[in-house]
Symmetry: C2
Amino acid sequence: MLRIIVAIDRHNQYPQLMAGRPTIRDVAELAGVHPGTASRALDPRLEGRISAPTAERVRLAARRLGYVADPVARQLRVRRSAVIGVIVPDLANPVFPPVVQGIEDALAEAGYVALVANTGNDPGRERDRVTALQGRRCDGYIVASATLDGTTIGRLTAAAEPVVLVNRETGDPGLPAVSSDDRAGVQAAMAHLAGLGHRVIAHITGPPNLSVVRTRAEAFRSSAERLGLDPGLLVLRHGPALTASCAQEAALAVLAEVPAITAILAGNDLMALGCYAAAQQAGRPCPASLSIVGYNDMPFVEWWRPALTTVRIPQYEIGQEAARLLLEQLGSGGHGPAKQILLPTSLTLRSSTGPPPA
Amino acid sequence: MLRIIVAIDRHNQYPQLMAGRPTIRDVAELAGVHPGTASRALDPRLEGRISAPTAERVRLAARRLGYVADPVARQLRVRRSAVIGVIVPDLANPVFPPVVQGIEDALAEAGYVALVANTGNDPGRERDRVTALQGRRCDGYIVASATLDGTTIGRLTAAAEPVVLVNRETGDPGLPAVSSDDRAGVQAAMAHLAGLGHRVIAHITGPPNLSVVRTRAEAFRSSAERLGLDPGLLVLRHGPALTASCAQEAALAVLAEVPAITAILAGNDLMALGCYAAAQQAGRPCPASLSIVGYNDMPFVEWWRPALTTVRIPQYEIGQEAARLLLEQLGSGGHGPAKQILLPTSLTLRSSTGPPPA
């Protein structure tokens, strides 16, 4: 939408610019960047906020075309901050604020700011919030709330809006996406549990329309197989949401049905917390009687009782990479390749895991 | 900005509406609500999203005026979701997501959505984000990042934007605000510590340009006096930010300077966590050697080791009340009284406090 506004400025407000004088869009086109990027690259007040090679390419293009900035038009443009809409599924899940921080920091380097919409994992709310953002001239979107069966992403891409997915995917390889290596993460957690001697292991997770849930559940089965564990002793349980209360309910049921379970791999850290509560209720102290592994390594879990053993995903870096990918898309006018970036995971060992009871 | 757009619709797109036919604004005026609220109250697709008494008042006004909705104009209006900008100082502080949830839920009842901007406690970022929101047709603002010396609120009110402050205040009684009773909260915490036998108590908190910091620090002194504690034994230390790392640094310094300290009242729960870390480093186990009290009772602190004794502020309700206050302002065209709402606090006793060492 930035482009339309610039066009209005030129046609209505500054008709003299029409008489063959090069515009910032001409400069942007020659430099191969977004007009907003070109404008910022030529603004001495914003020095250092555009990468040096890009700024140099824009200055070169401006010199070649004999471009002279119109200070009034510039002021109009610069007053309109460049905005990216960030759509998160659950702000109450502490894993998302570090992702948003990574996005914000990477955007700030290029002079962009983020506006965050929280969907609360509710398709109706998601629709309302995306409509709100679409009506507000966002230059692009970073979406952390993608589902394998949702319609939001389709609405954005149908409107030709630049979109980058973060953490959760739609299954469409045509969209740029940043996620973490969940297969390796689950494999490390399962190897740790098997190494401690656990054989009857449950995976308590969220709904299978989330890519992270599906990938981690598949990895739960495949890594157990690779580790030589008896697949008949594995228990997989999907709850309706990736929350502590859903995990607590599911864990209580599973522990009652299969008391031989000695370890639980939770779908995320909030679910691990629900498993802590269930273990207390079921009289199965963690880790003496029941080992619990989380996923994400969100802030403050090292202070929990017991401190949580969990698979670490690089939350801040995931956000940074997603923002950079979107800026690349904006710079290429949406013609860049749809990169899929996979960041490494690691297992953080703390106090919630130990050998199974004798 | 909604009003301007409606006016453009009427003058340019739908000139027939000018010929004495009642408009949604006339209905809204008669019913005493915002035009957006009136529009939604009359939309059968949005039934149940406006409170029943309000919807009834709007329907009555429409009948009296003989108002007939123009479906094309309505579609244009309904496609533009009503948006409130929410400005938070630190999304990484887990106390803010529940406040945002309260805001979102109360706004959703009236058909509004929230877009969240995170300032990271940085005045430059705050300026950028407020500019971004202002350029994006927000109907009003809920600001949780107010400082006693900041300029943001002034920029919003100078632009005649409806603003409600939440949690933090500017010291200007002319602005509607929702906060919690910090004097009573600190008094309860100090009475608890004095009752356990603590006499040398430190208050480690953030910068005094935040209203919550100033109010709690004043209450620290005044409640000690009321409890008959020797003011010469109190230690007050301001850190540069309300964060765990600032608290850790300040607590280490204070414990080295005044080893007789047996209890710390932290400026918030994140600072309490920094005090936990400092207590570990200083060989002062909590609570056996050092009692620590937090402030906020943010999510998950009951799972910390030790579980945190803290002053509870009603986070979700603070958000709800702020949203309702803003909706009232919008309904009254900004002519309503600038209410100041103070919600009650309470002390939640857990395991981080105990009697001082003998």
